[in-house]
Amino acid sequence: MTATAEERCLWALAQLFADDGEILASPMGPEPQKAARLCRRFLNPDLMLSDGVAHLIDGAGAIEGPMNYARVFETLWNGKRHVLMGASQLDRFGNQNISCIGPHPQPKVQLLGVRGAPGNTMNHRTSYWVPKHSTRVFVDTVDVVSGVGTNHAEALGPANRRFFDLYRVVTNLGVLDFGGPQKSLRLVQIQGETDLAFVHEQTGFELVVSDQLAVMPDPPAEILHWLRREA
């Protein structure tokens, strides 16, 4: 049984929470949510997940506590949380934009607003999921810094950046960490059927590639079965 590219992405997303222990995972969007459930089922049974409404739901579907928005904010300021967000734009230092495209006083395209991204990135581990790796997303400079990147965190100094923890970016083409020069993005895994030149072409800045670049692994058969069974 061979995994699809999408299934390898879900497996890569699931790995993000594997070493988090007993914290709240906040996966935004359907693929991250499925990956977080996969992670709890097979990799990290201690992970806590919300029903996306107002409660924590355990692996058997039982409510194990409240998690309304007020509690989400208290949890994120407290730090026991790992958020997996999307990004309309992302630069080489992991600055993320979900606010607007173009000049902020009168944008060309108004998006959601900065949402909780500034606070998330300054308070706990943050990862991103980019379902379509392209030069539209991976840009030289983001129009608005919603999620804080490594360069801005460095500039703030050691006290302010104590809890800053930008972790990984997973895209349809590969997995990136922040092991490049000055804590910039670095491609560490690539989809097997993807040509490295294509990843460069789809990235709007000069992409650093790990000298130990690996191919994104297939999930084990048991997990593949689970993925295909789960809606």
Binding site: Q110, L112, V114, G119, M122, F164
Partner: protein, 286 residues
């Protein structure tokens, strides 16, 4: 409705054995609002928004508002009606439709001023106002464009040995707040039955005047049969007026009473492309 200033003791003596009756009409609520006010609106995204009150406000002569909201169609409709001078928000979304069309249009035309904050900063600003403090310190916002886009924001240095410079989120005091609750009594105690009460309590404490619309007015003694008494989250001491409006959340979600009316919301979103967008948007709420 409670008057702006308390009645004299003589005037209240005859009814001193009963709590004030704050029932009023939608028109009376709108009559209390003035152009130029800073207005907080409860709910979150397209959930439990006081759309009946917001619609009446959109149809009124009140304008030049500063709107503070975890925003959805409330801010959108007021933008459509040209009532917004400044919006204070972290996000604006219709939930099932991610982007709010009328807010987008107003922004892309450069029609409104904005204070775009991290959404947690919104909570902290309302908390500061609620506690009558000038600011709340946080790390949220530091390092992001929120700082450059809001030049009024200042930092504060911890007076303790850590000496960390933190963002001082300024208080967000409100002239008035509009909230939609599931049940209320005539005194203005409000019971919220949805799984997430959002930040309505905070809006109530941050505001000088608070107006509730409610799905149903009930006797105070009936709160326990409607839901948990621990969900009577809005105390009448915070409330100026209460108006019964069944369906007062419009097409927004008001569970457990009713889910979001997705087809009405889709009609609202499509209204931005109509010949008369405001009229079409208002029609989606009637």
């Amino acid at each position: 409705m409670r008057p702006a200033r308390p009645l004299s003791k003589v005037a209240t003596q005859s009814s001193a054995t009963k709590m004030a009756d704050k029932r009023c009409t939608v028109a009376e609520v709108i009559g209390k609002l003035e152009s130029g006010m800073t207005l907080g609106i409860g709910g979150w995204g397209s959930r439990r928004k006081p759309m009946a009150l917001v619609k009446a406000l959109a149809e009124s002569s009140v304008t030049d508002l500063t709107v503070v909201s975890f925003a959805g169609p409330d801010l959108g409709l007021l933008c459509a009606a040209g009532k917004v001078r400044k919006a204070v928000y972290g996000f604006v979304s219709l939930d099932s439709i991610p982007l709010e069309p009328f807010f987008r249009r107003a922004r892309q035309r450069g029609e409104i001023q904005v204070r775009e904050w991290d959404e947690g900063m919104m909570v902290l600003g309302l908390e500061a106002a609620s506690r009558r403090l000038p600011f709340t310190p946080t790390r949220a916002g530091l390092g992001s464009s929120v700082i450059a886009l809001n030049p009024d924001l200042k930092t504060v240095t911890s007076p303790y040995e850590d000496g960390e410079a933190l963002l001082a989120v300024p208080a967000l005091p409100l002239d008035a707040a509009l909230l939609h609750v599931h049940r209320a009594d005539v005194g203005g105690n409000g019971q919220i039955l949805s799984p997430d009460p959002f930040f309505d309590e905070l809006f109530a404490r941050a505001a000088q005047q608070v107006f509730l619309s409610t799905e149903r007015l009930i006797d105070t003694a009936d709160f326990p049969t409607e839901g948990s008494v621990d969900r009577i989250l809005i105390p009448r001491m915070q409330v100026t007026g209460v108006v019964e409006v069944p369906g007062g959340a419009g097409f927004t979600e008001c569970l457990p009473d009713y889910p979001r009316d997705e087809s009405a919301q889709a009609a609202y979103a499509a209204a931005v492309g109509a010949e008369d967008p405001l009229a079409a948007a208002l029609a989606s709420l009637s």
